[in-house]
Symmetry: C2
């Protein structure tokens, strides 16, 4: 159990009073001989906790007589190992849960600047720690927000998967980065960021970071946030840089939430860091996207996407950028 | 407009009496520099026809005063170009719709053996014709069945996409096949089929074909149907082989439909043929899968799958095979 606080002076020594069965990860890593890609089989997860009610939420603080996953009676940010992990055990790797707040009804977009920074610090610290776990090849920080993208808990939280293998998307990026290097280029992402930084695809920006819709966006609304400079991993940012990034990240999430005026747009947020020890081929970026196409339509991944991997995006990226730029975020002037 | 009939003697000369605006495909092929993959942007499709009611179904036969996409007053199988295509125009390629029956309330699983064969013949004929269209690199036959996988029309039908580029999944298979060849192997798929043909993953089989759950299945329920011999393309089957395959295919679709006892399991069915002119690296297979995990749960592609491409399957493939073998199909003894 790791606590990260917005400031010093908090007692986080409360013990876990529950008597729990030790979990048996039991996942298995298989190899798809047709595509050459790894697939995790994790049959034990069919019975995992599904809850959106406040009363029995496992991420709310423990109360007398109601112990939860988090022993503390109050907390800022808490990180712990997932009790229904896809990774771990014989397969290797680790799955962690990051609770963003003890307040069940918040979302990331509604958190203070101080809390956003604390979460960023937690992510950077856990990235460093998990990168040092033997066998881990990729640390992947993410948030699934909303039932429409499969979130099983509504309490504001994210997850970290430390994969003991290179996931297919990161493998593709690595392949593209190596081809770019072989053709005489430097970092794969740097020229992409430079190309977008002043164009019609920009959604929001700060001095050190830019948020833009990728030119070949796969999803109806998709934004990449990247440093303008070449910072390979999240761990390479100083406090000032991290605070600036987390501010911009929260701004982008607010735009997604309010995209259709009801504050309820489900989204996925994925922190793409290079594979471990690949520090000079490309740098990190955050990918935020939703499958919501309009107020009442959602993008399905049908046969073209799910069977052939051929994405068809119904929203022009330039139109998506304009709409995201113009979102009127609740609670802002 | 192409009609395929279960037998001779049908007049299919009825003209299209509608005055339609010529469609402007207007899609654009973009290149994702990060992953090296193509993405289609097709903004004009946001307004495409969505209908599940019988009264205004565009795939029902034309009636006096109610012309549809299909001029005939009755038909067996009809193939025509999609009026809201993702492909075509400056991008190249083609999108076709294949209606399986004039009966709005059927599903593929409920069709006669004769009709299944006619559909197979239509697919083989269109595969041959579209393979000859300049610029086409991959002919992809598929069916999306059910609203849960994004089907916008409930009339029994499939589609054919003739991609002017190699889709990412087929590119992965080609890469794996070339690596297999470089390591001294022959066809990539032949030894996989041989390995599964007598094992616990078999769901159903005929003399020439076997249907099995892949060892590293990505989806809760997924079946591959492949010839035991090395037949690269659907066009390489004789009538007898095609009839046998279409019988087994219909059997597998019946098992999917009835998997949870309500006859309503949505599925995707994808015909994976090798890229054009790659006749000796691998052979064709059909992939049938559903995102339904249980009677009331569906698999979401959340951040691990959608962001990292790292699939986590909650159902053990061996368990899926056993359940699919034991499905009690409606209307059978």
């Amino acid at each position: 159990m790791f606590y990260f606080d917005d400031g010093p002076g908090h007692d986080r020594t409360a013990p876990d009073t529950r008597s729990l069965h030790a979990f048996a990860p039991g996942a298995e890593l298989r190899h798809d001989r047709l595509t050459g890609e790894p697939v995790l089989v994790a049959a034990h997860r069919q019975t995992r906790t599904v809850s959106s009610a406040g009363g029995d939420c496992p991420l709310c603080p423990s109360r007398p007589g109601h112990p939860t996953e988090i022993p503390a009676g109050d907390y800022h940010v808490a990180v712990f190992e997932n009790r229904f992990p896809s990774l771990g055990g014989p397969v290797g790797g680790r799955c962690e849960v990051v609770s963003f707040s003890s307040d069940h009804d918040r979302s990331f977009a509604g958190l203070s600047d101080a809390r956003r920074f604390t979460i960023g610090r937690a992510w950077a610290d856990r990235t460093a720690a998990l990168s040092a776990v033997p066998g881990v090849e990729q640390v992947f920080v993410f948030e699934n927000r909303g039932a429409q993208v499969g979130a099983t808990l509504s309490h504001p939280h994210g997850q970290i998967y430390a994969y003991p293998y290179l996931p297919p998307v990161q493998a593709s990026v690595l392949r593209a980065a190596r081809a770019h290097r072989a053709a005489g280029g430097g970092c794969l992402l740097c020229p992409i960021v430079a190309d977008q930084a002043a164009g019609p695809l920009v959604v929001a920006e700060t001095e050190g970071f830019v948020a833009f819709v990728p030119e070949a966006a796969r999803w109806p609304y998709e934004v990449h946030i990247a440093p303008r400079g070449c910072v390979p991993y999240l761990t390479g940012l100083d406090d000032e840089g991290l605070a600036e990034l987390m501010y911009l990240y929260g701004d982008v999430l607010s735009r997604f939430e309010d995209l259709f005026g009801d504050g309820e747009t489900a989204y996925m947020a994925c922190w793409h860091q290079p594979p471990l020890h690949q520090t000079d081929l490309t740098h990190f970026y955050v990918q935020v996207f939703t499958t919501r196409r309009s107020a009442d339509r959602w993008k399905f991944l049908a046969s073209s996407e799910s069977g052939a991997g051929a994405f068809i995006n119904d929203v022009l990226p330039e139109t998506a950028a304009e709409r995201l730029r113009n979102v009127r975020v609740r609670g802002r002037a």
